[in-house]
C-alpha cells in the first residue's frame, strides 16, 4: 500500500525537476547546519546509552578491582583496591566460590544449548507447517504468538503453579492420572528443576523463533518452489533443498539473538524459583545476583559479571567470524 503511493510521489517529484543527487551533495546551501545535524539527532540516544549502559559498565569493571563489602559500598569510590583478588576468587575452581561459579556456568551452557535448540526446532517446524494456506491457519498463527505476548512474570507464575508439589497440574497428570511416577515429584527444587526451567523457557521462547522464521520465509521466491515442483521434487524434498537452505541467513541472526537472551535470562528463573535457584537450575545471572545482593560480595559479583561479559563477547565474535566466513565461501 505504502509502496504504491511512494512510487507515484517519486515520479511526480522527479518530473517537477530535481537534479539527481542534488539533495545529497555537500555543496547545497545550509550545509553547516546539516553536517551537525546527524550528531544532534543521535545525541539523545547516545547520552542515554552512555548513562544507563556504558558508564555503569565502566564502573562495574572498576568495582571488580575493589574490595567492596556492604560497609564500603556506600562510598564505593573510596574503597581500597584489591587488584585481581576478585577474579582469583571467581576462577579458583578449588575454592567454594569458583567451584559454584563453574558449576553454574556449565548448567547455563547446557540449558542454553537445549533451550535455543528446541526453540529453533519448534519455531521452524511451526513456520513451515503454516506456510501453505489451510483452514484455521490464521487462528493458529495468532495462538502461537500468545506465549510471546504474555508478560514474562504472569506466564512464569502460572507455570510455577502448575509445577507445585501438592496442587499442581503436572503432578496430578503424571502421578494421579497416568500413574507414571511412584509418588508426586518435586519440580521446583532438586534435579527436576532443570526440566521445569527448560520447559518454561522453551514455552516462552519458541514463538519468537516462529515469528522470525515466518518473516524469513517471505523472502524465498515462489519461482524456486515452482521450478522444483516441475523437476518433480516432492514436498519434503522442497523443504530440505529449498526452504531450509534459504533460511540460513535468518537462522544465523536468530540463533545469536536467542543465545544472548537465553544465556542472560534472569526473569524466568527468578520468578520460577525466587532469589536462590536450586543447584540443578542455578543459571549464571541468578548466581551472580545471589553473590552480589544476598551475600554482599559486591566486588566478586562485579568480577563475575565482567567474566560473563567477556565470555559473551568472545562467543559472539567467534560466531560472527564463522558465519560471515561461511557466507563468503558460499558466495564464491
Amino acid at each position: 500500500m505504502t509502496t504504491t503511493t511512494a512510487t507515484a510521489e517519486t515520479d511526480r517529484r522527479t518530473v517537477s525537476g530535481s537534479t539527481p543527487g542534488a539533495a545529497r551533495g555537500p555543496r547545497r546551501p545550509g550545509r553547516i547546519r546539516r553536517i551537525g545535524l546527524p550528531y544532534l539527532l543521535l545525541l539523545p540516544a547516545l547520552v542515554l546509552e552512555l548513562l544507563v549502559h556504558l558508564v555503569p559498565m565502566v564502573i562495574g569493571i572498576l568495582m571488580s578491582f575493589k574490595a567492596l563489602t556492604r560497609f564500603s559500598i556506600r562510598d564505593w569510590g573510596a574503597a581500597p583496591w584489591s587488584g585481581w583478588d576478585n577474579y582469583k576468587i571467581s576462577v579458583d575452581i578449588n575454592a567454594p566460590a569458583g567451584e559454584a561459579l563453574l558449576h553454574s556456568f556449565w548448567v547455563t551452557c547446557g540449558f542454553t544449548v537445549l533451550s535455543v535448540g528446541l526453540c529453533w526446532l519448534l519455531g521452524t517446524a511451526a513456520a513451515i507447517f503454516l506456510q501453505d494456506t489451510f483452514r484455521g491457519r490464521g487462528l493458529l498463527r495468532t495462538l502461537f504468538l500468545v506465549p510471546y505476548a504474555l508478560p514474562v512474570y504472569t506466564a512464569v507464575i502460572t507455570w510455577a503453579f502448575m509445577f507445585q508439589h501438592d496442587n499442581g497440574l503436572v503432578n496430578h497428570v503424571l502421578h494421579d492420572q497416568l500413574g507414571l511416577t511412584d509418588k508426586p515429584s518435586f519440580w521446583l527444587i532438586g534435579d527436576n528443576s532443570f526440566i521445569a526451567l527448560l520447559t518454561v523457557s522453551v514455552w516462552k521462547g519458541w514463538p519468537f523463533a516462529f515469528l522470525v522464521v515466518m518473516a524469513g520465509l517471505q523472502n524465498i521466491p515462489k519461482e524456486l518452489y515452482e521450478a522444483a515442483a516441475l523437476d518433480g521434487a516432492g514436498m519434503w524434498q522442497q523443504i530440505r533443498r529449498i526452504t531450509l537452505p534459504s533460511l540460513r541467513p535468518v537462522n544465523q541472526v536468530l540463533v545469536l539473538v536467542l543465545f544472548l537472551w537465553t544465556f542472560n535470562d534472569f526473569n524466568t528463573p527468578y520468578v520460577l524459583f525466587g532469589k536462590a535457584a536450586p543447584e540443578a537450575a542455578d543459571l549464571i545471572s541468578i548466581h551472580v545476583y545471589q553473590t552480589t545482593f544476598a551475600t554482599w560480595n559486591f566486588g566478586t559479583g562485579s568480577a563475575m559479571s565482567v567474566l560473563l561479559l567477556l565470555f559473551l563477547l568472545v562467543v559472539t565474535g567467534l560466531y560472527l567470524l564463522l558465519t560471515s566466513r561461511r557466507r563468503k565461501t558460499a558466495d564464491v
Partner: protein
C-alpha cells in the same frame, strides 16, 4: 504472506505430520492459558488441594478480591505510566537516531551502530549495581530522585528497547525510497520536516512494531523493577508476588490478577502483530 510451496497437493505424510505437530504444539501453548483462566474462576479450596481440571463451582470472587489483597490498581497505574512513558520516549529517540544513520554519512557512524547494538548483549546483572549507585549519587548530589521513582525506571527501560528499535528502524527507513525525502528537501522542507512529513508516515508499520516491542519489554521487566522500586512505585512485575502470604498462596487470585495484567498487552500485541511481522521482515531479516 509466505509463498506457498508447490502447486500440487501435499503428500499424505506431510499432512499427517502437520496435524500431529500442530495438535501437540497447540496443546502445549494453551495448557498454561487454560490453567490461568480456569483457576481464576475457582474457589480457594479448589486451588489449594489436588489439581482439578474442572472447578467444583464457578466464582468471580477472585476478581473482586485481587484489588483489596494487594493495591493492584496502584501497581497497574505505575506499570502503565512507566511502560507508556518509556515507550513514547524510546520511539521518538529511536526515530531520530535511525533517521540520522539511514540518511546521512558521518564520521563514527559504524562505531555508533556497533556500540549501540553491542549493549544488547550486556548481561543486565553487570550494570544493575552500578546503575543503582549512579542513581543514588545523582539523587544525593542534585536532589533529583531517580532511585525508587518512576522516572528512574522509565529512564532505565527506555534504553532497553532502544538498540533493537534503532536497528529495526534503520532497516525500515532504508526501505523508504530516498528520493521521497530528498524531493521534500528540494521543495523547501527542513530535514526534520522531511523526516516527519515523508519518512515517518511511510514507516508507520515499523514504528508501530518498535512501539509494541518497547511496551512489552517495559511491561515484563522484573530484575530492575524489583531492585529499583519502593512501596509507592512498585510495578505489577513485583506487585504480583504480594498474593503469597506467610501461610498461604492465593493461587486463584494470583491467576485472576495475572489474567487482568496480561489481557491489555496480549490484546494489543495480537491486534498489532502484523506490523511486527512486517517490521521484522523489513528491518531485522535482511
Amino acid at each position: 504472506m509466505a509463498p506457498p510451496r508447490s502447486p500440487m497437493a501435499p503428500p499424505r505424510s506431510f499432512l499427517w505430520a502437520r496435524r500431529i505437530f500442530l495438535t501437540l504444539i497447540t496443546g502445549f501453548v494453551l495448557l498454561p492459558v487454560y490453567v490461568m483462566v480456569s483457576s481464576s474462576l475457582k474457589p480457594l479450596q479448589d486451588v489449594s488441594g489436588t489439581f482439578r481440571w474442572l472447578p467444583s463451582g464457578l466464582t468471580i470472587r477472585p476478581y473482586i478480591d485481587i484489588w483489596s489483597t494487594v493495591p493492584l490498581a496502584d501497581y497497574f497505574v505505575n506499570s502503565l505510566v512507566v511502560a507508556g512513558a518509556a515507550t513514547v520516549c524510546s520511539v521518538v529517540i529511536a526515530v531520530f537516531a535511525a533517521y540520522a544513520v539511514s540518511r546521512y554519512r558521518f564520521r563514527g557512524k559504524r562505531v555508533f551502530t556497533v556500540t549501540v547494538l553491542s549493549t544488547q548483549m550486556f548481561p543486565g546483572i553487570l550494570f544493575l549495581l552500578p546503575l543503582f549507585l549512579i542513581y543514588v549519587n545523582i539523587g544525593n548530589a542534585t536532589g533529583i530522585a531517580l532511585f525508587g521513582s518512576r522516572g528512574g525506571l522509565i529512564l532505565t527501560y527506555l534504553t532497553f528497547s532502544l538498540p533493537f528499535s534503532i536497528w529495526m528502524l534503520i532497516g525500515y527507513f532504508d526501505s523508504v525510497p530516498r528520493d521521497l525525502d530528498e524531493a521534500a528537501l528540494v521543495d523547501g522542507c527542513g530535514p526534520l520536516g522531511a523526516l516527519f512529513r515523508v519518512v515517518v508516515p511511510a514507516a508507520i508499520p515499523g514504528i508501530v512494531a518498535v512501539a509494541v516491542y518497547a511496551f512489552m519489554t517495559a511491561w515484563g521487566e522484573v530484575l530492575f523493577a524489583s531492585v529499583m522500586t519502593n512501596d509507592t512505585t512498585r510495578t505489577l512485575a513485583v506487585g504480583l508476588q504480594g498474593y503469597a502470604t506467610q501461610t498461604e498462596v492465593y493461587w486463584n487470585q494470583v491467576m485472576a490478577a495475572s489474567l487482568v495484567v496480561s489481557v491489555p498487552v496480549v490484546a494489543g500485541f495480537l491486534l498489532l502483530q502484523r506490523y511486527l511481522v512486517a517490521g521484522l521482515t523489513a528491518g531485522a531479516v535482511k
